[in-house]
C-alpha cells in the first residue's frame, strides 16, 4: 500500500476519532469533520460510479453544487461534502462499475 496519500491534514485534529464504515471497511475519522474532506484525507479516491457510464467520481466543488460526492448512507444518497462525520456511519458507494444503464 502506498503510504503517501494525495491529501494530508496540516494539523492534528483535536476531535476524537470515531469509527465509520466505507463499503464495509472500517475507517477512523475525526468526529464532526466534513465527511468528504475526512474521506479524502483517509485516502478514499473514488466516492461513487456514475449511473450512466459507471465512471468513477470524487468530490469536485465541496460546496454542495456538483453532486459528484454522492454516497449512500442508510439507503439515502447524500452529498458527503454537506454532512459531518458521526459515529457508526455506514457508507456505501452508489453505482458500481459493473452496472451500466443506457440513458433513456
Amino acid at each position: 500500500m502506498n503510504p503517501v496519500l494525495p491529501f494530508l491534514e496540516i494539523e492534528a485534529s483535536s476531535a476524537p476519532r470515531v469509527e465509520v464504515r466505507f463499503d464495509g471497511a472500517p475507517l477512523l475519522l475525526p468526529l464532526g469533520a466534513n465527511l468528504a474532506a475526512a474521506l479524502l484525507a483517509a485516502g478514499i479516491e473514488r466516492f461513487r460510479n456514475t449511473p450512466v457510464s459507471g465512471a468513477p467520481r470524487a468530490p469536485f466543488c465541496m460546496m454542495g453544487a456538483c453532486f459528484d460526492c454522492l454516497v449512500e448512507i442508510d439507503g439515502v444518497q447524500r452529498q458527503a461534502c454537506m454532512i459531518e462525520v458521526a459515529e457508526g456511519l455506514q457508507i456505501t458507494r452508489p453505482g458500481s462499475p459493473e452496472v451500466r444503464h443506457v440513458a433513456s
Binding site: 491534514e9 496540516i10 479524502l40 479516491e45 465512471a55 469536485f60 466543488c61 465541496m62 453532486f67 459528484d68
Partner: protein, 464 residues
C-alpha cells in the same frame, strides 16, 4: 408556520451584512444557509478555525469575523444547515434540515446565494483528483486538508491566492498553468485607471506573485490544449506552452477561471436575467439597491454580479436599507443618507473589476470545448452532442431536453448551463440573451419523501 418581515437565503458576507442591517432597522429577519456555520464561501468556518490555520489564511480571511460577530449580537434568527429548495410567490420558503422539511413565510426575500466556479470543461475534468480551486480552498479552510501534489490550472487572482496559501502551508503547488496571454494583459491596460483606484488589490496581487516567485513555483502563461490524463484518477496534466508539449505528473488538479453568479433561486422565482459581456455570464437584472423585477425579491452579493466579498457585504447592506424603507421602517431620506457612503465604497470596490475581467478572461478552450469533451457532468453529455442538437434545430437550452438529457441531472445545470448556452449560441449565430438559459424549477435541490412528508402544506414542485 412562522412569518417574517424578511427572509434571507445565504449567510456569506452579503447575507450576514444584510441580515444585521435589516434587523437593526427593526425588521424581523430569518437567515437560512445550508452550511453548518456562517461565513459563506470566502469566510467559510471563520469562527471555527484553529489559530494556526487562521494565520496561514491571512487577515483578508479573518476580517470576516467582524460580520459574524455583528450577526451574533443582532436579533437575527440564523438557521444553519437549512437547504432551501423552494420559494413560492407570496412568499413561502421550504427547506430541509436534519432530514426534515420546514417552511416559513415572509413579506420580502433577499437572495444572497453567492457564486459558483465558472464551469471549466476540459478533457478529463470529471476524473477523481480534479476539483475546482475553490474546493481546494474549502478543504483547507474548513478541514485543514491540503493536496500534496497539485497543479493549479486556469486564470485569475483566486488562483494566486490559493497558490500562496498552499505555499505558506508548506505544500506549494507543483505549477501554475495559466490560460491568460500577454495580449490579454495589454488589452487590460486601457482599464488601468480603474485598477489604480483599486490600488490595494493590485498591490496585493503583485505581492502574491512575488511570493510565488520567491517560493520557486513555476508559472506557464498562455497554456493551451489542456488535458487531464488518467485511467481511474488524475495522473498527468498535459498542455502546450510556447509551442512545446508539457506533461506534469500530479495527483490533484485544481481548476479555476473565474466565478459566476449562482442564479438558481432567482431564476426559479422568475427574476429577469441578462448577459453581461464584461463578466461573460448571466446576471439578474436589478436596480442599484438590488431590487429585481419580481416585487419583494432582492438579490445581493456575488449572486447579483461578481464583485468580491467587500462589495458583497456593501450590496447586502444597501438592499437591507431599501427593504427597510419599503417596509416603512426608514424614511426615504434616512435610507438615502445611510446609503451614500456605502454606495461610494462599493464603487471603489468595483473599480478594479474591468481590469481584472480583461486581464484574466475565461479560458477559451473551456468556453468552446472540442466535440469529445464532456460538458454535462451528471448525464455525461459531450460538446459534440450539444452541437448535434443545434444542427437538428435546437435553438435554446430548454429545447435540449427534447433532444437528450443534458442539464437534467441533480446539479440542475449548475456546471453545464453556461457552456450549453455558449455552444448553442455559437452554432446558431444568436446572442447569449437570444439563446437564453435553462428554466429552473423547484426543487432547487433533491428532496426526500421523508422531508416532503414532514411538511403540512407540500409546495408545488415543477415536473421536469
Amino acid at each position: 408556520m412562522s412569518h417574517r418581515d424578511l427572509v434571507i437565503v445565504g449567510a456569506g458576507p452579503a447575507g450576514m451584512a444584510a441580515a444585521t442591517e435589516a434587523a437593526n432597522a427593526g425588521l424581523s429577519v430569518t437567515l437560512l444557509d445550508e452550511q453548518p456555520r456562517a461565513g459563506g464561501q470566502i469566510y467559510r468556518d471563520v469562527d471555527h478555525v484553529p489559530d494556526h490555520r487562521a494565520a496561514l489564511l491571512g487577515p483578508d480571511y479573518t476580517a470576516g469575523r467582524d460580520l459574524t460577530v455583528a450577526l451574533r449580537s443582532s436579533p437575527v434568527e440564523h438557521v444553519t444547515g437549512a437547504v432551501v429548495w423552494s420559494i413560492e410567490p407570496g412568499f413561502c420558503l421550504s427547506y430541509s434540515r436534519d432530514g426534515r422539511g420546514a417552511q416559513l413565510t415572509a413579506d420580502r426575500v433577499l437572495l444572497a446565494t453567492g457564486a459558483l466556479e465558472r464551469p471549466m470543461p476540459l478533457p478529463g475534468w470529471t476524473l477523481p483528483g480534479v476539483m475546482t480551486a475553490g474546493a481546494g480552498q474549502i478543504l483547507l479552510k474548513q478541514s485543514g486538508v491540503l493536496a500534496r501534489s497539485a497543479v493549479l490550472v486556469g486564470a485569475g487572482p483566486l488562483l494566486y491566492l490559493i497558490a500562496v496559501q498552499m505555499l505558506r502551508a508548506g505544500q506549494p503547488p507543483l505549477a501554475l498553468v495559466e490560460t491568460q496571454t500577454g495580449r490579454n494583459r495589454r488589452a487590460a491596460l486601457r482599464h488601468l485607471g480603474g485598477a489604480l483606484r483599486g490600488w490595494p488589490y493590485m498591490a496585493k496581487g503583485l505581492r502574491m506573485l512575488a511570493e510565488l516567485k520567491r517560493g520557486g513555483v513555476p508559472r506557464y502563461i498562455g497554456a493551451q490544449d489542456i488535458r487531464i490524463e488518467g485511467d481511474t484518477r488524475a495522473e498527468v496534466l498535459c498542455f502546450s506552452h510556447r509551442g512545446r508539449i508539457r506533461r506534469l505528473a500530479c495527483e490533484t488538479v485544481f481548476l479555476h477561471h473565474g466565478v459566476v453568479p449562482n442564479t438558481q433561486a432567482a431564476r426559479a422565482l422568475g427574476v429577469a436575467h441578462h448577459w453581461s459581456t464584461q463578466q461573460q455570464c448571466f446576471v439578474p437584472t436589478l436596480d442599484y439597491w438590488g431590487r429585481s423585477d419580481v416585487p419583494g425579491v432582492f438579490v445581493a452579493g456575488d449572486g447579483a454580479g461578481i464583485g468580491g466579498a467587500k462589495a458583497a457585504a456593501l450590496s447586502g447592506r444597501l438592499a437591507a436599507l431599501a427593504i427597510a424603507c419599503d417596509a416603512a421602517r426608514l424614511t426615504p431620506d434616512e435610507r438615502d443618507q445611510r446609503a451614500r457612503p456605502l454606495r461610494s465604497a462599493r464603487a471603489r470596490e468595483q473599480a478594479p473589476r474591468p481590469f481584472l475581467d480583461t486581464a484574466y478572461p475565461p479560458c477559451a478552450q473551456a468556453l468552446s470545448p472540442r466535440d469529445e469533451t464532456l460538458v454535462c457532468r451528471c448525464e455525461e453529455v459531450t460538446a459534440g452532442t450539444v452541437r448535434a442538437h443545434a444542427r437538428a434545430g435546437c435553438l435554446g437550452p430548454n429545447q435540449t431536453k427534447a433532444f437528450g438529457r443534458v442539464g437534467m441531472g441533480p446539479c440542475q445545470g449548475r456546471y453545464c448551463g453556461l457552456t450549453v448556452t455558449a455552444l448553442l449560441a455559437e452554432a446558431t449565430g444568436q446572442t447569449p440573451d437570444q439563446t437564453g438559459y435553462y428554466r429552473i424549477r423547484p426543487p432547487l435541490k433533491p428532496v426526500t419523501l421523508g422531508e416532503l412528508a414532514s411538511l403540512k402544506t407540500p409546495p408545488a414542485t415543477g415536473e421536469n
